[in-house]
């Protein structure tokens, strides 16, 4: 028997307001998190899930305040451990819809190990990773996604660590759904949230997010109107990898095993690289593309079907119960070698 998933009950008609909690939001004015919160609250009614069946789990960091502002069940836990807590919750309660909210520090530094394992296990939950390339709550140290040479309070003459690419990391861990969106692109964020929420298995969504206090405009290459036109690559299943302004369309094509940018008009249509969400190997190449030499991919890199951790676990349990009946402690205690003393 497969466990009953969320949505088994009929959800009332909700509006965004139903998902706003009574808590004052305490992020800095101008923080990118506001836009994400608003987008998530707006998306919730469309999921068709009763709000009491929705749980937001977070670790520590600015992003991790998120659950307090959602009028659902929520658990603000400890630094880096949200994926592990969510795994335990999911195994106990496969009927719930679980969202993990994390950041580049929480999810990829202190919690990197848990992120690896939740992705490889393919636990059915959504992970929203807010990537602002900086530590905000601890007031401005560099993060594992900060660029090499980043000058911060803790690295006054520049950081010596090379950054991790969240998308490449997730794909390397065997993630079954990997996507990227941007906090300043509300319609795209809405679409990606819905796609992530609809995925069966672990859905990993990187949200490029602005920390206007400690790392303002870190993603300006995709915020700035001019630059965005030049660099944004919208991934769409079945469509070629084309980007750039209408009068100067460019394509990413494969030359041998090397992705290369060419003028679209210079290559025949047959040599264009057509995006396929089911092709994980191609997604791994796309994950590494970034400005200035390449465009910045946004959208769904991969979405594949794979066995879900808790489904397999609960199938074993159901089979054990249907084969031999529910456990009986009195029988177990007297099983095997026993002897009587009178």
């Amino acid at each position: 028997m497969s466990p009953s998933g969320p949505g088994a009950k009929e959800a009332p008609k909700y509006t965004k307001k139903d998902f706003e909690s009574d808590q004052d939001v305490r992020w800095c004015p101008g923080c990118g998190d506001y836009a994400i919160l608003s987008a998530v609250q707006k998306t919730m009614p469309d999921l068709g899930i009763p709000k009491e069946d929705i749980v937001f789990i977070s670790g520590i960091g600015c992003s991790s305040r998120f659950p307090y502002y959602m009028n659902t069940y929520g658990f603000h836990t400890i630094h880096g451990r949200a994926p592990a807590i969510a795994t335990g919750l999911r195994v106990a309660r496969p009927d719930l819809k679980i969202f993990v909210v994390t950041g580049d520090g929480d999810g990829l530094s202190i919690g990197g190990n848990h992120m690896l394992h939740v992705l490889r296990r393919n636990v059915n939950l959504v992970i929203l990773l807010f990537n602002n390339r900086i530590y905000g709550l601890t007031k401005g140290q560099y993060s594992p996604t900060s660029e090499l040479g980043k000058v911060t309070k803790s690295t006054p003459i520049g950081s010596a660590d090379r950054p991790v690419n969240p998308l490449a990391f997730a794909l390397g861990c065997g993630a079954t759904f990997v996507a990227r969106t941007v906090d300043r692109n509300i319609p795209h964020m809405d679409e990606m949230l819905k796609r992530a929420a609809a995925h069966k298995g672990t859905a990993f969504l990187e949200i490029l997010q602005n920390c206007n206090v400690y790392n303002d405009l870190a993603w300006n290459v995709i915020y700035d109107r001019e630059s965005k036109v030049q660099h944004e690559l919208r991934l769409e299943h079945g469509k070629p990898l084309l980007f750039g302004p209408p009068d100067d369309r460019r394509a990413v094509i494969m030359q041998g095993v090397i992705p290369t940018v060419v003028r679209a008009k210079d290559v025949p249509e047959s040599s264009l690289w057509v995006h396929d969400e089911k092709n994980v190997n191609a997604a791994k190449l796309i994950a590494d593309l970034f400005a200035p030499d390449f465009p910045i991919p946004v959208g769904v890199l991969t979405a594949i079907d794979a066995p879900v951790y808790e489904d397999l676990m609960l199938e074993q349990e159901q089979k054990a119960i249907s084969d031999r009946g529910p456990g009986d402690i009195a029988k177990l205690l007297t099983s095997g070698d026993t002897w009587k003393i009178s």
Partner: protein, 623 residues
């Protein structure tokens, strides 16, 4: 399968009746000494004896053959009276090679029975054990002990020479020669071992036949070789009537959790990362999916505890286990369960440390870690089982208290309890106290940190309950509402409230049972796996006419409410522990009593002889 033991009633002329015996099988880690010991234990249980065991093996999976550090041993004491410990000094030592002789000979009583496998005493093995000359040729050895040199390897091969097995396979059965021989010496029934062989090797008739023949050959050798002057009978012990089984501490913990799952009607989520000596609990629970126990082999100790906390948040029973080093890693997670006020059971199978220490050796040095090993004020309930079988009741009680009071409960078992076994009177599960779970569903007046007036527990709400959506977390919260709060007075109030909740668990603790007079010269106070050694020592002191009593604490936080009063009824207080003095420090601090410690930290159980010595010394040196 249920069996009724049919112990011999009359004692033959050649047999000498004994009250008890302590024997140890020792050999190379590849010699099958653990299996030999376990089978001898089963035979002794069939014979109706009370018993206690002490397996002792190297941490290395396949330690190099013949070396001193590769020696594996299994000790047990069995008797016609109550047996509290695996025994201190040996009546009989079986040494399968020179290294085993070298490591264990010092524990054999003068005049004790020493049985050696002569063929293993070759140049190569003697070198590895560091013997310049063959110790079996030393006349002193035979003068000091009743030495029996038996070519077990040769006799084993002779017994099965016609079977189509290779030399290595034949060699491997020689432990059953030793088992057969010692079974004859102590008049043990072979039936349980024969039944075991049949089951274990059902798919390999030749191996089954070989083991059967070798077992009987060892037995026959004892009977016919006429080198053994006498053999022994140990009458069945007078034990409470009922159905018994052998129980190890780790299995008892696992089954206690299963019992709690069934009685609470909740699923269990067990998060664990493999670690000696706790892994067997994970293995055991993984076999019992029918009880709705969901085992997660987590990526690390932190994920193990946090997955359990996530499950508790979801309305299941969250359990995690480890040994000291892993518990250190779980500290922050346990703190989260303290402040989120969620039920959590943490099993610590203590081992010798610090750091990696001696993973397969026992210790009880994590008491302070259990009481204080977290940042800030993070009190938890701490329980400790006294015997392997007691682990069942303690695990069950841990779940019951965690759910009733909405807090973490730590259980301090240890390597000795985990692997040691005892005959265990199987309880009627209906007599266990109920575990009543009531999830809150009532919307009216709901707040996440409303408190029950008797227990101070906050309501347990399953996500999925309409109208009770709420958020909790690791930040300090206002009492009742659960809203984030940095208010100084509220923090002070919450610190006190979390402590008071733990203190209220004292109302669940039954009156302390005192072994001996209610007032007197000396009270011996113990906790955990030293129960047997302490009880044996105290009963011997009492038999010598000393005014001594003992109590054994199963609740370490909170302490039993009657403890302060009991401590004042004796002139002196002695606290034996396998640490540098942890409980003694707690008792001195808590009750201003001049308790003194007896402390040995060798990775081994305390010997009752040395505790008796400490008792006598404290009472004025009169032996």
């Amino acid at each position: 399968m249920s069996q009724i033991a049919t112990p011999a009633t009359g004692v033959e002329k050649s047999r000498k009746a004994l009250d008890r015996a302590v024997i140890r099988f020792a050999g190379d880690s590849g010699d099958g000494m653990q299996l030999t010991g376990e089978q001898f234990t089963t035979e002794s249980a069939w014979a109706g004896n009370d018993l206690a065991t002490l397996p002792n093996f190297p941490a290395e999976i396949r330690a190099p053959a013949g070396t001193l550090f590769g020696v594996s041993s299994f000790q047990l004491q069995f008797g016609s009276q109550r047996v509290y410990t695996p025994g201190d000094r040996l009546d009989c030592l079986v040494a399968m090679n020179p290294a085993a002789l070298k490591v264990h000979l010092r524990d054999l009583k003068t005049g004790g029975l020493l049985i050696v496998n002569t063929q293993a005493f070759d140049k190569r093995n003697l070198d590895k054990a560091g013997y310049a000359a063959n110790p079996l040729d030393e006349p002193a050895l035979a003068e000091r002990y009743r030495l029996h040199k038996v070519d077990m390897t040769g006799l084993t091969h002779e017994a099965i020479k016609d079977l189509p097995l290779n030399t290595k396979e034949k060699d491997r059965t020689k432990n059953f020669f030793a088992l057969g021989l010692v079974s004859w010496i102590y008049t043990r029934p072979l039936e349980p071992t024969l039944v075991w062989i049949e089951k274990r090797f059902a798919k390999n008739k030749d191996i089954a036949e070989a083991n059967t023949r070798v077992l009987k050959a060892g037995h026959a050798f004892g009977e016919t070789a006429e080198i053994f002057g006498e053999h022994y009978a140990i009458e069945p012990a007078e034990m409470a009537p009922g159905l018994y089984r052998a129980m190890t501490g780790n299995r008892a913990l696992a089954w206690g959790i299963l019992a709690a799952a069934q009685r609470s009607k909740l699923p269990v989520v067990y998060g664990a990362y493999p670690i000696t000596p706790a892994s067997d609990i994970l293995h055991e629970l993984a076999m019992h999916k029918r009880f709705r126990v969901r085992t997660i082999q987590a990526e690390d100790e932190i994920a193990a505890v946090t997955a359990a906390i996530g499950a508790s948040f979801g309305g299941a029973i969250g359990v995690t286990a480890s040994s000291g080093p892993g518990i250190a890693l779980k500290g922050e997670g346990i703190g989260l369960a303290v402040t989120a006020e969620l039920p959590l059971v943490v099993l610590n199978i203590q081992r010798a440390g610090p750091s990696t220490g001696m993973p397969t050796k026992t210790e009880q040095a994590d008491l302070m870690q259990a009481l204080y090993g977290r940042n800030s004020e993070a009190p938890v309930v701490v329980l400790a089982p006294a015997t392997p079988g007691d682990c069942f009741y303690i695990a069950y009680e841990a779940v019951r208290l965690a759910a009733r009071y909405m807090l973490p409960v730590l259980v301090l078992s240890d390597g000795f309890l985990a692997n040691g076994s005892e005959p265990w009177l199987i309880p009627n599960v209906d007599t266990l106290p109920p575990i009543e779970i009531s999830f809150r569903t009532e919307r009216e007046g709901f707040f996440p940190y409303l408190r029950d007036s008797a227990t101070l527990a906050r309501p347990w709400v399953r996500p999925g309950t309409p109208g009770l959506e709420h958020r909790i977390g690791g930040l300090e919260k206002q009492d009742v509402t659960g809203n984030i709060s940095y208010d100084p007075e509220n923090h002070d109030h919450m610190v006190r409230t979390r402590a008071e909740k733990v203190r209220r668990v004292a109302q669940e603790i039954p009156p302390t049972s005192i072994n001996g007079p209610a007032t007197g010269d000396l009270l011996v106070v113990g906790w955990g796996g030293t129960y047997g050694s302490i009880t044996a020592a105290v009963e011997r002191a009492q038999a010598d006419g000393k005014s001594v009593a003992s109590i054994h604490l199963r609740h370490l936080n909170p302490l039993p409410p009657d403890l302060g009063h009991i401590l004042r009824e004796y002139r002196k207080v002695l606290v034996p522990e396998i640490n540098s003095g942890q409980l003694v420090r707690v008792l001195r601090a808590e009750y201003l009593v001049d308790a003194v410690g007896f402390n040995r930290v060798r990775g081994l159980p305390l010997a009752s002889e040395e505790i008796l010595e400490a008792i006598n010394q404290l009472l004025g040196g009169k032996a």
